[in-house]
Structure formats: structure tokens, C-alpha cells
């Protein structure tokens, strides 16, 4: 079947979709957006969290067909989504790259200045806060947590620690013990408060 929806502000069309395919599979394998992660594919870990018409969902539990006509935001579009929210404007044009090829992976190299300066990459406040607070280790839970935390801060700009824990309780992290994630969300909230 064919599925049409809007991903990160851009109309997308996926062809030859098998009826059993999840939204997560279509994003990752057909649209070249592997940022949403596949840690459990059972709706338990939150690593695949995306916004579906504004609501955070586990994209592994959404059949691709159910997303027909929807607006989807993934971690790849989070920075632009946050920028437009800050600007209060609508409509955006974030382009989707194709998937990570083996060749690209071979050429990948980390640069010492990437994170320190964020050169060339626009980040959402929550993304920058995760880097600054040391909330990223292996990073596999990070995309889902970012989408969930960003949505919480949108609803609740001044969360208590208990609010943060409740909002993020559907997102498993195995590396950090969550302390630096708490730090990151507090930091993003504080920066948001200063900027307002």
C-alpha cells in the first residue's frame, strides 16, 4: 500500500508498504530517518518516540497506515520544530536525508569540536542541554527522550523533579542512571525560562 504523511514539515510518500509495517519501520527503512530507535519494538522503552499530530507516541506501536495524513516530528526535525515554536511561525521545510550507508559509516569520524561549539548544526535547547549536561552516553535512548522531554517542556515549562520523572518514565536508559538526564531537563527548563 501507499502511505502519505508529513514528516518534519515535509510531505512524504512511502510505496510498497506491507500492512504490518510500523511507522517506525517506514521512517527508518523507507524514508531514511533512522534517528528514531528500535530498542524493543514492544512499546516498553520509548526509544522510538515521535510526535504524531503533536502527541508523543511509540512509533513502533503505530501501524504505518494509521499515520496516513498525519503530521509527524522525529528527532531529526526537533531542532527546526523547536525553532519554529520559538518563532511562533508555521510550516517548515526540513529535508530528509537518505539512510546511513556503509560507505558513509566508514567515512564517519568524530571531531573534537563538534559538541563543544555545535558548529554548523542548529540544535533545539533540549538537544544542547543533553550534550552540556553529559546526558548522552551510548545515545540509543537519546532521540526518544529528547522528543518526550521537549514535549513535556512545551506543556510544563517549570517542571518539578517529580514532574520530569513522571513524564519520562516511559523512556528507558541503561547507561546513565538518569541523573544527568534530570540535569539536562532542568538545564533546558532554566535556559528556556531565561530566554522567555
Amino acid at each position: 500500500m501507499r502511505v502519505n504523511f508529513t514528516v518534519n514539515g515535509r510531505p512524504q510518500q512511502a510505496d510498497d508498504v506491507w500492512e504490518g509495517e510500523s511507522l517506525l519501520y517506514v521512517l527508518r527503512e523507507r524514508l531514511g530517518l533512522p534517528g528514531s530507535k528500535n530498542a524493543c519494538e514492544q512499546g516498553e522503552c520509548g526509544s522510538c518516540t515521535v510526535r504524531l499530530d503533536g502527541v508523543p507516541v511509540c512509533s513502533c506501536l503505530v501501524a504505518a497506515g494509521q499515520a496516513e495524513g498525519s503530521e509527524i516530528v522525529t528527532v531529526e526535525g526537533l531542532a527546526e520544530y523547536a525553532r519554529q515554536r520559538a518563532c511562533g511561525t508555521g510550516g517548515c521545510d526540513t529535508s530528509a536525508e537518505c539512510g546511513t550507508s556503509g560507505d558513509e559509516a566508514r567515512r564517519w569520524s568524530a571531531h573534537g569540536t563538534d559538541s563543544a561549539t555545535g558548529e554548523g548544526t542548529e540544535l533545539a535547547p533540549i538537544q544542547q542541554a543533553f550534550i552540556d549536561a553529559g546526558a548522552v552516553q551510548c545515545g540509543f535512548c537519546t532521540p526518544g527522550l529528547l522528543v518526550a522531554a521537549d514535549e513535556m517542556l512545551e506543556r510544563n515549562p517549570n517542571p518539578t523533579d517529580a514532574d520530569i520523572r513522571e513524564a519520562l518514565s516511559g523512556n528507558l536508559c541503561r547507561c546513565t542512571g538518569y541523573e544527568k538526564i534530570m540535569d539536562a531537563v532542568r538545564l533546558a527548563a532554566a535556559r528556556q525560562g531565561e530566554g522567555a
Partner: protein
Amino acid sequence: MVHTSANGAPTRITQGAPTQGGIGESTLRPDGTLKVTGEFAYASDMWHEDMLWGQILRSTVAHAEIVSIDTSEALATPGVYAVLTYDDLPTEVRTYGLEIQDTPVLAHGRVRHHGEPVAVVAADHPETARRAAARIKVEYRDLPVITDEASATAPDAVLLHENRTDPHAAHVPHPNIVHRQPIIRGDVEQARGRADVIVEGEYVFGMQDQAFLGPESGLAVPAEDGGVDLYIATQWLHADLRQIAPVLGLPEDKIRMTLSGVGGAFGGREDLSMQIHACLLALRTGKPVKMVYNRFESFFGHVHRHPAKLYYEHGATHDGKLTHVKARIVLDGGAYASSSPAVVGNAASLGVGPYIVDDVDIEAVALYTNNPPCGAMRGFGAVQACFAYEAQMDKLAGRLGMDPVEFRRLNAMSQGSLMPTGQVVDSPAPVAELLRRVKAMPLPPEQQWLVAGEDADLRQLPGGLSNTTHGEGVVRGIGYAVGIKNVGFSEGFDDYSTARVRLEAVGGEPVATVHTAMAEVGQGGVTVHAQIARTELGVAQVTIRPADTQVGSAGSTSASRQTYVTGGAVKHACELVREQVLDRGRRMFGAHHPAWATAELLLEGGKVVTDGGEVLADLVDVLGDEAVEIEQEWRHRPTEPFDLRTGQGVGHVQYSFAAHRAVVEVDTDLGLVKVIELACAQDVGKALNPLSVTGQIQGGTTQGLGVAVMEEIIVDPKTAKVRNPSFTDYLIPTILDTPTIPVDVLELADDHAPYGLRGVGEAPTLSSTPAVLAAIRNATGLELNRTPVRPEHLTGA
């Protein structure tokens, strides 16, 4: 100036003033931006034009003969390109293993555990591959299952592995015992006579899963030269290569492995998972093959932490001095050896804990059973022992009427103490100080669920939003524990690493490039390598090359060893590069300034300077158009095997220590536990990156919390089948289950280690679990001899 120890290994920095972004600073991860934007390429994100999907068919029973396998229906499924069984393996080498080559690539005539790989399928869609795999007909004839020590060592027990030829076969008391390691020191029988108080205990440690979030995955791409390129998430590229090559029948240089993004590891990626299967399918079909386990399969796709039964006897005098420890530790290794022998060595040699005890009699064994194979997980044998010996220490303190912390401090080892193996602990061992510090931290307020306001905040109570209590029946408890972990590979293993460092001028700026095969699994090794290069070469720009097999082995990302060993290799290679650069500078510019010949020279801020601070040259001018590049192996101090009869020997490279204080609140009516705070004090020698060090300690602490109150793989004792292979039924701590984790980092340098550092990752996983158990015992007065604790253990229901 390079300070060098007796064996030629450089030890300390003397590169003048601290370099910005160098060691000791909390510099940020070089992969951080990619990881927060979703661009970081994990193994499961790999994609290739025309790629196929691989799928493994796994056994549905734990122990059976395979009567027949019929693949015809699977092969006839449209979209299927290949179905392979044991008979399709290309060479006579059809097994692999980290220490003992006993694990079949695909089952041959018999399966030994639930979920063992039997066949593999390649198809053009993952669902097609799954359905085709389900159409393979395997006829099993059940064999009796061996599930514990009694059934494994019964006189008529079926042997898991017949005709063993491995190095341990000759000394084990039964062929279903993988390895046995005694540690005998002094005379326990005589020491028992001096004891005023003796306590005994039998402890059970449940099977824990690493539960890394990034599932096992990889992409194998057939190459034109008949070889294969493999993009893979692993902990040790070169150990994988050594096991893969003979099965494929290819020389190692035709298998080019590149580390792709690794979504956590914690020991679970030390053994091979789908590496060989993906390569076999790629070479058979001539197409790239991607394999990604789902969570269900991941629970079968890697080894777990050994469940254990531990029998301990401790004695002490009235004044609180330990007289002796006698222990027997039985680890269930499951169907294949994995790293069981090394886990046995750790459990035995660290089985007393960080205490001074002159008379010791310990025996540790690992069994072969039909349970899931067990091997490496963070803490590696030391975790199970720590759970038991710390329970014993509390029990003894209770019998003596002593404060549990004071009792531990009274018996704590320190620098110069003897291990029960006879090894002298020759670097700081601040056990008593760590306990003092963790006890001195302020306690969280009583009835903290009321702090926010007048009404109870349910989220702060046991049971949480299930609204099971508003404080009624809730009792607080506090518990302490401390542990000892070895750092690095032990028992005589040649535990080296390799680094290639290049220094060159690029666009008028000096740039260092560091290339190692170190598996970055999240721990932040890439951050630290860049910091070391900045410190040692005085440059700002450092590029970290992707890890692959085009450079020498880095050894495993395990045993808390990478910052020590590969960090040591990077430091060493940088020092050699620096010397070469300075030599070149002396040749080029020596005539212009006498300081080139007479002064101590340093690289700082992209310049060659004297130790007096005088600038002699720009690094760019010294380098010119010609890069300096050096690849060099580096080794820590050698160790030796433990004597097979007495366990004596200098078996470990370095020891690390952490202590915890747990504060819990228990709903004693319902048996629900909430851990309120889990404070940790740890000595790290030197924190190369304090932010990452804290993150490691908090993460390790949380994994210890998990196995204290929730995490356990349940294996049916009748069938040896796994009953909870999902995140619905195998619970790991969420952010709601995890308390605040204040961390106190102590930095007492180990003069034998680079920068004085001490491996960090594992020690906090040891003492976390027994501290939580001690706190629950403190709250409830129950004995609690098993972990994880479940509600029924607390209510007696």
C-alpha cells in the same frame, strides 16, 4: 620530559601547563551532536542498496537431539535468497568461543539451550525472512535437562560437552564443570578456633541481563576480492575477527571490520552474536545482508550474568577482627563456556572482599547446564561475591553488636595489604575512607513524600501512582556496602592495546589524529582519547578516526580497562610522536637557539616551548608538509595465572573500590520498595573526565539497583526455558525507580597507571546491590538471602 617506570612504560604527565580541553576537564563528547540529532549511525541504522535481511531460527527447546531439519518450504518462499544450516558451513571450523571453542555457529545434531541458533535465512524483507524461518521444520527428540549443580554432577548426568580438550578439562572434578578455582591461604580450621562468633549464610543471585538498548545488529557486505566488509556493534573487533575468519575460511585481512554505533554493551557484546551468520549469508547470496535482533531475540542473542549460589562462613573475634572466611561459589555458566573460566577466577580471588583476612578457603566453580549461556557482565564474578560477603559482614556486625560501617572499617584493607591470593595491593586502597565519606553524606529528609506540600506526593512513595499508600506502613531503612573489583584482564593474559597517532599541519594549524580499534560503547573513550592527545601534543584540534581492524587490536571494552590500556596506548604513542617532532625541530632550528639542545622542551598551544615558557617555534613550522605518524602497542604490568590448587599468584593488574549507602522506604504491608537515595563514594585515581566519571558511577550504581529489586531472567527449572524475554516482563529501572545518586569522587593516584588513573566502570555495580539489600533488611528485619528481592519475600505471602 617523559617519566618512565622500570619496565619502560611511561606513567605520568609532565607536559607543562594544562592544555585546554586536555585531561582533567569535563570536555564534551565528540559524538554528542550526532547522537542528539539522530544522525549517529548505529549498527541497526546501516543501509545498503539491494540489501537483504537475515533472520535466525532458534531452538524452541533447551536440550534435544535434532532428528531432522526440512528447509524446503522456507526456501520456496518468494523473496527468500538463502537458507543455511550446519551442513552449509564452508569449513571444518564450525564452532567459536571467547576462551573455549565450544559454541556451534549453527546447531549440529543437538541443541543445548533454549534459543540456540539452528538455521539462518536471508530475504528481501525482514518479515519475509521471519516467516520463512518459521516454515523451517525441525524435529527434536527431547533429552533430559540439566539445570543445577545436582543434576550437572550426578553420576549418570548427560555430558553437555563430551571429549573436552580445553585447558580446564584436566583439572575439573566433573566434565560438566567448566572450571574450578580454589583460593587457599593460611589455615581456616585453626583460625576457626580463634573465632568468638561464626556466621554462616547461603545466598542466591538471580540471572541478570545486560539489557543494552541497541539490539545486536550489523551489516555484512560481500567484497569483490572474495572477502567481506562487516559493520558491527561489538566490544572487541579483533577478538571477533579471530573467531570469524576460520569459520568463513578467509584470511583475516579479507574481513574488514568497522565499528558502527554501539547502543550500550555492559559485557553482552563480548561474545559473537550475528557476526558469522551475516557474513555467511552475504558470501552465499553475493548481496549485502543486514541483521537486527528484536528485543525478544536479544534476550537469547547474548550471554547473561551468571546466576550464583554462594555458601559463606565468616568468623570474628569479640573485638571485631575477622578470623577467617570459608566460601563456596557455584556459578551457572549455562550451555557454553563463554567467559566462565575468567568469571570463576574473579569470583574466587575477590571472594573475600576488600578486607584483611589471613585464613581463607574459597572454592569457585562454573557449571555447564542447559540454562542460557552466561558470561561477561559489568562486575564479572565480583558482583555475585560482593552481594554475599557484604550480607555476611552485616550479619557478623549484628552478632557482635557493632555498627556495620565501623566493623567494616576495622577490617578494611589498605595499601600494602595482602589479597588472599598472596598479591600485595601496591597502590592506594582507601576502603575505610570511602566508607567514612559515604556515611558522612547528609541523609534525605524523613517522610520526603511530604516535603513538597501537605498532601503526600504519591510519586515519592513505594507503589507510586498506583496509589497503594499515603505513608501508612512505610518504614525507612539504611544500608552500606563496599566492594573490590579488578581492572584489566587478569591471570597472565597479554592485555595490550594499540594506538596510531598522527600529527600534521592542516590549513596552518597543527592537527592530531588518533586511530585505535577501541570499541566506543557509550563510555566516552573517544572523548578521553582526544583529551590525552591535547595534553600530550599541546594541540587544540584532534580527530578521532572510526575504530576498525585497519589498526592493531585495542583489546576489549570491558574489565574497566579501556581508559587505562587504550588510553595508555594513546598517551604512549603521543609521547613517541612528540619526541620525533622535537628531534625534527632540533635538526631544523637547533642552530638558531641554544635552548633546543639544553632545555626541557614541551608542546603547548601549538608551539614548541621551553619549560621556562620561552617559545622556540611554531609546531606548524616544525611539521612543514610532513606528518609524523606512529603506531605502537602498549602493555600494562604483566600478571600471572592463579595456582590451580592454592589460587596463589599475582593475578590482577589493579584494584578499584567503591562504597554505597542506600536509603530505602518499604511498604511493609505490600512488600513494595522505593529506593530514595543511593550515594556512592569511589576512588578513581585520576578523573580524566569528571563528567564522564560521574556518569559511569551513576550508571553502574543503577544496574546494581536493578538486580537488587527487579531484574531477573526467569528460567523454568523443569524445562530450562526462558519465561520473560521482553521489557514487559524483564524490568530494568525507569527514571521513576531510580533515586538521586550523589557521588563523591576520590582521586588517589596509582603510580603504576597512566596519569595515576583507576578503571571506573565496574566497581559501582558491585556495592550498589548489597547496599540496597542491607537497607531493606534494616527496614524490615528480614534475612533476605536472595536478590532480586520481590514483594513476596517481604510480606511472607
